[in-house]
């Protein structure tokens, strides 16, 4: 009986002598928890402020921050109680490094997203080619760029692909050149053909008069003399022009009497004579 009463007193004494520590630890924990909640809310708010932020993603990062801070808080509170937490700090460092490596790609997408927003190599509505995918930009979000092809396929390209690679922006420069090749007959007069082609192209009001339509012989092909036509226009007109120009050019070449040839082949008929089989054939083309 006597022993027990002394024990009670001892416990009381221990508690009281440790009371400041315990209270401080509790305070550290409570303040830490409050800070964790505040900071994670702040992170979520900050991320949702980012242009085209993704709610899921900002929630994810906010939770990540919150639980990391809670872990730190618990460790801090334990330290205040006098428990050795060196090992725990090591664990936190390890976990943190692991997380950094796990999130490396997503984080570099975020970094690239910020760069894209600062330097704006493309804007919403631009027709671009990123990493081989071509489409009209719908949105530049914090980790990815959303595009739509002309035939309505949605494409999501990670921002690091765009910022770290090659971006082809088809309408950043207002003026565009359209190149088309027309093959004309070897027997036709080249100047007549060139004039017919440039005149037909120049007749379209969407084609710029300056720089004027241009046409030259780019290749002497197998069956045709290849004349390339180059015209300048606005980007938006160019896409329509591409499909509107062949018909008038064909009409103009017909009117000028310039033929657009089929593939040609000179066929030499020979009797099977083994000794003659390897002989060279005579000139037959013009006959």
């Amino acid at each position: 009986m006597d022993d027990i009463s002394i024990d009670f007193a001892a416990i009381g004494a221990t508690i009281l002598s440790h009371a400041p520590k315990i209270l401080l630890a509790l305070l550290v924990f409570l303040v830490g928890r409050w800070l964790a909640a505040r900071l994670s809310a702040g992170v979520e708010k900050g991320l949702s402020r980012a242009p085209n932020a993704d709610a899921t993603l900002s929630r994810f990062f906010a939770n990540l921050v919150r639980y990391a801070l809670l872990l730190v808080t618990v460790i801090a509170a334990l330290t205040v109680l006098g428990i050795d937490t060196t090992a725990m700090s090591g664990m936190v460092l390890g976990l943190g490094v692991a997380m950094a490596f796990i999130l490396k790609d997503s984080l570099s997408d975020v970094a690239a997203g910020v760069m894209l927003m600062i330097f704006r190599p493309y804007n919403v509505g631009d027709e671009v080619e990123i990493d081989g995918a071509k489409g009209v930009v719908q949105a530049i979000a914090i980790t990815a760029t959303r595009m739509k092809t002309r035939d309505n396929i949605e494409m999501i390209v990670q921002n690091s692909k765009a910022w770290g690679g090659v971006i082809r922006n088809h309408n950043a420069l207002e003026k565009r050149r359209l190149d088309m090749v027309f093959g004309v007959s070897y027997d036709a007069d080249i100047d007549t053909a060139i004039q017919a082609i440039t005149k037909a192209a120049g007749a379209d009001p969407r084609v710029y008069a300056d720089p004027a339509p241009w046409a030259k012989v780019v290749n002497l092909g197998e069956s045709a003399v290849d004349i390339e036509l180059r015209v300048w226009s606005d980007y938006n007109d160019m896409r329509n022009l591409k499909v509107d120009i062949s018909q008038p050019v064909k009409a103009a070449l017909d009117a000028a009497g310039v033929g657009i040839p089929y593939p040609h082949e000179v066929v030499i008929k020979q009797k099977a004579k083994p000794s003659k089989l390897r002989g060279r054939v005579t000139k037959l083309r013009k006959t």
């Binding site: 002394i6 007193a9 001892a10 400041p20 401080l24 305070l27 550290v28 702040g42 992170v43 900050g46 402020r49 980012a50 242009p51 460790i75 330290t79 205040v80 937490t85 060196t86 700090s89 090591g90 936190v92 460092l93 943190g96 997380m99 950094a100 490596f101 490396k104 984080l107 570099s108 600062i118 330097f119 190599p121 910022w163 770290g164 690679g165 090659v166 971006i167 082809r168 922006n169 420069l173 565009r176 050149r177 080249i190 030259k216 012989v217 780019v218 290749n219 002497l220 197998e222 003399v225 040609h264 082949e265 000179v266 066929v267 030499i268 008929k269 009797k271 099977a272 000139k283 083309r285």
Partner: protein, 297 residues
């Protein structure tokens, strides 16, 4: 006497009780006890007050820095408001993190784990910016070694065009049909760069196929004469050159080589195509269609 012995015994008992760690509840009523207690907790309380002060001032500073960052980024051209907000809050929370660590250290809490976490966070940011920093390094290289300059026609990372801009992060080209190509400097510096302009003069090589029955020497003479007549064809480093490079399926292929200034390359090629074809027509040299021998029997 007996009373004294009892008292002494009681005192002795109290001593033993004290040394055994028992607590005298009665002493709580003496001011000395509280004074003693105060001297014990005083540093903690002061530190707590200091910590709160650090936190309070620090938060103000963080807020101010966030606002300043936002204000200055908004001033920069082509930065929109949402982005400025975003960068502002990033700055604010980065400063807040330092403030919290400072405050917590002031209380005397072990911050090793917090510092470890901050270290990990910095590592994460470093990894995230790895690509961008690589681009900056490549940009510095491009500016130091200048493999191309503005106005050059180049082939960089598989993209051809005229160099419009070399910045610290990117190289911007305009293709001949005016597509804007933005290439990360890391890609540009890390791949083969072909510069079509920097050497000043270029050689135009084009193969012309003539008929097997035609006079090769006559054809070569026509090609050389036509080439020399072109105003943009140079006589240095070499005058026009033409030789049979291949006995092809349906034609004898003669290659024409002429030198010209880099900027005239395409015009010279296209002009010669036309003039040589016309000269061949005039002098009876034929450019053959594909031939095929059909053997009967």
């Amino acid at each position: 006497m007996e009373n004294e012995t009892v008292e002494a015994a009681a005192a002795a008992a109290e001593d033993t009780a004290k040394s055994a760690g028992s607590f005298d509840w009665a002493q709580m009523s003496t001011p000395d006890f509280w004074l003693d207690m105060w001297t014990k907790v005083q540093p903690t309380v002061l530190n707590l007050i200091f910590a709160l002060l650090i936190l309070w001032i620090g938060m103000k500073v963080a807020k101010w820095i966030g606002k300043t960052v936002k204000k200055y980024t908004e001033k920069a051209p082509n930065v929109d408001a949402t982005l400025a907000n975003f960068l502002g809050s990033i700055a604010k929370y980065a400063v807040t993190a330092f403030v919290v660590i400072a405050a917590v250290t002031q209380i005397g809490v072990e911050t090793a784990s917090l510092v470890a976490m901050l270290g990990a966070a910095t590592l994460a940011i470093g990894l995230a910016l790895q690509g961008t920093l690589g681009n900056i390094a490549a940009g510095v290289m491009l500016m130091l070694f200048r493999p191309y300059k503005i106005g050059d026609y180049v082939d960089v990372a598989g993209q051809e065009g005229v160099v419009e801009e070399v910045s610290i992060f990117t190289t911007v080209l305009a293709t001949i049909d005016n597509v804007k190509v933005i290439i990360a400097n890391g890609e540009a510096w890390g791949s083969t760069i072909k510069n079509y302009t920097s050497m000043g003069v270029r050689r135009v090589d084009v193969d012309y196929g003539i008929h097997y029955d035609d006079d090769i020497n006559k054809a070569i003479k026509i090609m050389k004469d036509v080439s020399s007549a072109h105003p943009d064809v140079l006589s240095k480093p070499d005058g026009p050159w033409a030789k049979v490079v291949k006995l092809n399926e349906s034609s004898v292929d003669i290659q024409n080589r002429v030198w010209c200034k880099a900027e005239n390359y395409w015009d010279v090629m296209f002009d010669l195509n036309k003039s040589i074809k016309e000269a061949f027509d005039k002098d009876g040299i034929t450019i053959p269609y594909p031939h095929q021998v059909e053997i009967e029997g």
